[in-house]
């Protein structure tokens, strides 16, 4: 593993921790969902560097893509209901 790869891995790890922290502390729920998706995106790049392309594909498609959208749909549904109750 070269120096460059190690540097990228450390950067990706820091970025993942930062976005995971953002997901908890950001007030806006939509931004929080996006931050969770970003964690998955960085994780998939990390898997690719660690030579696990199969896992990277799954993480990118399901973690960063589909689950983010499903969270957004769920969020949309629950906020709609709250407005109806008011």
């Amino acid at each position: 593993m070269t120096e460059l790869q190690q540097g990228i891995i450390i950067l990706m790890g820091i970025a993942m921790v930062v976005s995971a922290g953002l997901a908890m502390y950001v007030k806006d729920l939509v931004s929080s969902v996006i931050a969770v998706g970003v964690v998955s995106l960085f994780a998939s790049i990390l898997y690719l560097i660690l030579q696990a392309p199969d896992v990277a594909m799954t993480e990118a498609a399901i973690g960063a893509g589909l689950s983010t959208l499903i969270f957004l749909y769920a969020l949309h549904k629950t906020t709609d209901k709250e407005e109806e109750n008011d």
Partner: protein
């Protein structure tokens, strides 16, 4: 104050745990045990160029069947919880506030990209035994194509009869292929029921391409069904 104390204790326990794992890890220079056997015998026994696929579909095929079953249960649960009531189908989607259509840009782009994305998904699972990827990844890509169509057109509907038929028939065929392995080859989910072929060609590795095509179709239709249930207004 108590909350902070608990957080601090949790932090200490987690760091002790991670430190123990980290300090006990020895960097291995060669494969050991069952992994060594897989790497040495996988290509000869199963004829798959991509060793990961050979392990996932054949050596650990039962786990994959379990994963497919878990996904099926999840899709069933979502469909049960968010099921469409009969009156929803009669009523239009919304009569008081008309829904805003997506922008021209998104619609054109989605119509252009969706067929290519479906084709890429099919490519991923057909080439599962040659290159990285497989049924789950290809199915997820197909589901993303359907998702793009959902986003671009709010009135877009999928044909539930066709999707349900594809999903259930591919699930049944997967199990049937697995059971055929008991009678024609070494055991459940053995891929040698079909000729192994030449290593590296598209028609090789016995039943692995067949099984991954079935898994891909099943996962794709299932995930698309989950998204369709989620987006439905009620």
């Amino acid at each position: 104050m108590i909350k902070r104390l608990f957080a601090f204790i949790l932090l200490i326990f987690t760091s002790v745990m991670f430190y123990t794992i980290f300090s006990n890890t020895v960097q291995s220079t060669e494969l050991k045990g069952v992994a060594k056997q897989y790497a040495a015998r996988g290509a000869d026994e199963l004829g798959a160029q991509n060793l990961v696929t050979a392990i996932v579909v054949t050596y650990r095929g039962l786990d994959t069947l379990g994963e497919v079953a878990v996904l099926f249960l999840a899709a069933t649960g979502v469909a049960l919880l968010l099921r469409r009531r009969k009156e929803d189908e009669v009523l239009p989607l919304s009569e008081d506030k008309p829904k805003r259509q997506s922008s021209e840009l998104l619609r054109t782009g989605a119509n252009l990209l969706a067929p290519i994305m479906v084709m890429f998904g099919v490519y991923i699972f057909i080439n599962g035994h040659l290159s990285p990827g497989g049924g789950f990844q290809g199915g997820a890509v197909i589901a993303s194509a359907v998702l793009l169509l959902f986003l671009s057109d709010i009135n877009y509907k999928i044909n539930h009869t066709v999707f349900g038929l594809i999903e259930s028939s591919s699930g049944v065929l997967y199990v049937v292929t697995g059971i055929l392995g008991i009678f024609l080859a070494g055991g459940f989910l053995d891929n040698r029921i079909l000729p192994l072929g030449e290593l590296g060609s598209i028609l090789s590795a016995g039943a692995i391409p067949v099984i991954y095509t079935l898994i891909g179709l099943k996962v794709g239709t299932e995930l698309a069904g989950i998204i369709d249930n989620m987006r439905r207004e009620n």
